[in-house]
């Protein structure tokens, strides 16, 4: 059936419109819901992003803190390394220096012309140098580590070792004749090594040559003196003949000159004798046979011989002997007389007219003591040290008598000390001197 097309009625139109609005509203509602959903999702996404961002920042903060720390540590390590390298350099430089010093010292010790021995705190031989090896003709390895008693067993080293053992710490230039062509001067030096460890350094100084020269000198003097004696004796004999008138009369004037010549000759003979005595002392040939006597007896003889001198010089002379009997002494008669004479010679020579010389003799259980006291010029303080030296004469003594050998006291000292006695003096310039010597009691 054909429906007639009619225009929609207003009501129908309205209904369609309302339907459309409703449809649109629904669509909008759906869209709103969708939008809300999207927004919600978006917000959640952003939150997620923010969470991630926060994690990222935290991680980044950790990382940068660690990096900072690491870089700091690296810097410190670098600085420590630099400091250590510096220390190492310094240590190496120090070690090099020490090594050089060591080498220097080793070279010095190895090349020293003196022999060196080093004993440790337990008196074991720690070191010897090449010169020592040469001196003893022994190798270092045979000596090192041995104690003093062990070393004493070696014939080569024995004399030195014995000396060190007996006299230990304070040996100063003691002479030892090791063998025929070897004389040593031995000196010991105490050393403190490390913590109060007392080591001993022994220095061996070869004086063989010096000894040889001294011997040659003494020999020469001896020979010369002997040679000189002969012509002097001849002169003395001839002058004596002349003075005794055996070769004819002589005038007073001639006598005067001849006397003077005779005296000069006598003085020369005395000087030669002194020189010969000195050489004999140095050669060790001086003392002869000893006898047991009372010293007073010799003294009397000597004193008597000076009585003339005393009168002539107008110097008082006295002998004081202890009242108690004096013990006997074992002496070389001739030499003891020489000693006494030398002391008395000096006493008279250096005392002026009107002065006094006193000789005293006393003793105790151990020794006999003799003294010669004068009121002479005395010995100046600054010269007293050298009084017993060979050829020494004090300045004021030289002024009083220009001639004199300076050997008198040297010889007297030798004689007394060879007998085991002591000799000394007290003196004040201008007041006088007293010379003493002792001799050990025999027995």
């Amino acid at each position: 059936m054909n429906k007639v097309q009619r225009t929609a009625s207003p009501l129908a139109k309205r209904n369609a419109g309302v339907k459309e609005i409703k449809r649109l509203r629904n669509t909008l509602r759906v869209r709103d819901l969708e939008l809300a959903e999207l927004k919600k999702k978006h917000a959640i996404d952003l939150q997620e992003l923010d969470k991630v961002a926060k994690m990222l920042v935290q991680r980044d903060l950790e990382r940068s803190q660690i990096t900072e720390k690491r870089e700091d540590e690296l810097k410190q390590l670098k600085e420590s390394r630099a400091a250590l390298l510096n220390i190492l350099e310094d240590a190496q430089a120090a070690r090099k220096f020490v090594q050089e010093e060591k080498e220097k010292i080793s070279a010095i010790i190895a090349n020293l012309s003196d022999g060196l021995l080093l004993f440790d705190a337990q008196d074991r031989l720690s070191m010897v140098n090449p010169q020592t090896e040469k001196i003893f003709a022994v190798k270092e390895q045979d000596l090192i580590g041995k104690t003093i008693p062990q070393l004493a067993a070696f014939p080569a080293t024995r004399p030195v070792v014995i000396l060190v053992k007996n006299e230990g710490e304070k040996i100063f230039r003691k002479e030892i004749k090791l063998r025929e062509k070897m004389t040593l001067e031995v000196t010991t030096v105490p050393l403190t090594i490390g913590k109060n460890q007392l080591w001993t350094l022994v220095v061996l100084h070869d004086v063989t040559r010096e000894k040889l020269i001294e011997e040659m000198k003494t020999e020469f003097v001896s020979l010369s003196a002997h040679q000189l004696r002969t012509p002097l004796s001849a002169i003395k004999w001839t002058l004596r003949l002349l003075l005794d008138g055996e070769l004819g009369n002589i005038t007073q004037e001639q006598r005067g000159f001849l006397e003077k010549t005779y005296q000069s000759n006598e003085r020369m003979i005395a000087l030669i004798n002194d020189l010969l005595n000195v050489t004999r002392i140095e050669e060790g040939r001086y003392l002869s046979r000893r006898v047991l006597i009372e010293l007073e007896q010799i003294l009397q003889i000597v004193v008597n011989s000076y009585k003339e001198e005393s009168k002539r010089t107008n110097i008082g002379f006295k002998l004081e002997v202890s009242k108690e009997p004096l013990p006997k002494v074992l002496v070389d008669l001739e030499k003891i007389q020489v000693a006494m004479q030398n002391l008395l010679d000096n006493a008279f020579r250096y005392t002026r007219a009107g002065g006094q010389v006193t000789v005293s003799l006393k003793s105790d259980k151990k020794e006999v003591e003799l003294s010669v006291k004068d009121s002479g010029v005395g010995i100046p303080k600054d010269q007293q040290e050298k009084v017993f030296s060979k050829f020494f004469r004090a300045a004021n003594a030289v002024r009083i008598e220009a001639e004199g050998s300076g050997l008198g006291l040297f010889i007297a000292k030798n004689i007394v000390e060879s007998h085991g006695g002591r000799i000394w003096f007290e003196s004040e310039e201008g007041k006088g001197s007293t010379f003493y010597f002792t001799l050990p009691v025999a027995g």
Binding site: D50, A53, K54, L56, V57, D60, L61, S64, T67, E71
Partner: protein
Amino acid sequence: MTKAGVGLSQNLDDHRKAGFEAASQAVEKLGGLAPSILFCFSSIKYNQEEVLRGIREAAPAASIVGGSAAGEITSWSTVFDGVNVLAISSNSIRFVTGVGKGVSKDSFKAGTAAAKDVVSNSGGKKPNLFIMLPDGMTGNGAAIVDGIKSVLGENAPIIGGSLGDDYFFKKTFEYHQDQVLTDSVVGVGLYGSFEYGFGIKHGWEPVGLPLKVTKADGVKLQEVDGKPALKVYEDYFGKEAAELVREPLARMAYTYPLGLAVEGSDELLIRDPVIANEKGEITMASAIPEGTTIRLMIGDRDKAIVAAKKAAQVAREQLEGAEPKFILMFNCMARNRLLGVRCHEENETVSQAIGSGVPMSGFYTYGEQGPLLGKKGTPAYFHNETMTLLVVGE
């Protein structure tokens, strides 16, 4: 004709000699010309008066400006225990100095005082270029810039860097002629015919959701998104507030500053947090106004170096063909922190990009001043974390 030379001394045994040596080295490179002005920057390890005396001995007639730093930069080295001096001799540029004091009392006023001082010393003229060297610890850096702008003009060419103190964050010093000052701002006006270029870029990037400053009072940032400001760092660092207050915050956060968008820049303007209190309020190096949207910024070493290079290139371009005569670099101390042992890399990059033969002197600052992105003819702002360069040529 303008000639410049840079000298450096690290003589910690004799501070006066250090000043003398650095200044003499710089003056020597002028080849016999007398210096008109010396820019001097010195580590706080030196007695500032002694250093200044030594510098004066080497250049009796020149003007002296500068101050204490958190690191001394030259074209060949970056050190943290030195005195460096840039000596400039020119018969085409006139340097006029001035000073404004009392930055902590009224930063704006101190800024105006410095600018006015320069203007009056020049005989009433505004300079072609104004270099500012403010105290790095006191007052409000942005307010000082505003003060200067109020005298010289909103778009006046202003560039500079805040003095430092070797990361102690205690006290910084400014040099004006023969005086060692503090809490001051020193200004140098350049007059005459010359070309100049600015390079200002930082390379930091924003991270995380934008945040809104809901409460602020001057430099004090009080609330962000309705919560105490410190919460931002608590959330991002995952650390307790107490720890952040103690640290102090500055040391942890100066490579994670806050950034705000400003018109005319594709980079956000950075603001450093300095210190936080128990209330969760953060004192910033410069004010962030209420209602500002801020983002947390994250730094990346390589990006920082790239930014430095870009800044140098821009500065070079701005010379429009003129030959560069000297470079002054105001490099934020935070960049040194970020780059660590690689800090000298960005300085070398700048030097090479402009010309390694060009005398370059600078220091690590506690804040920088200059127009955004270095665009000439736009207002100067206070920056943080930024590589700020001035190249002068003719």
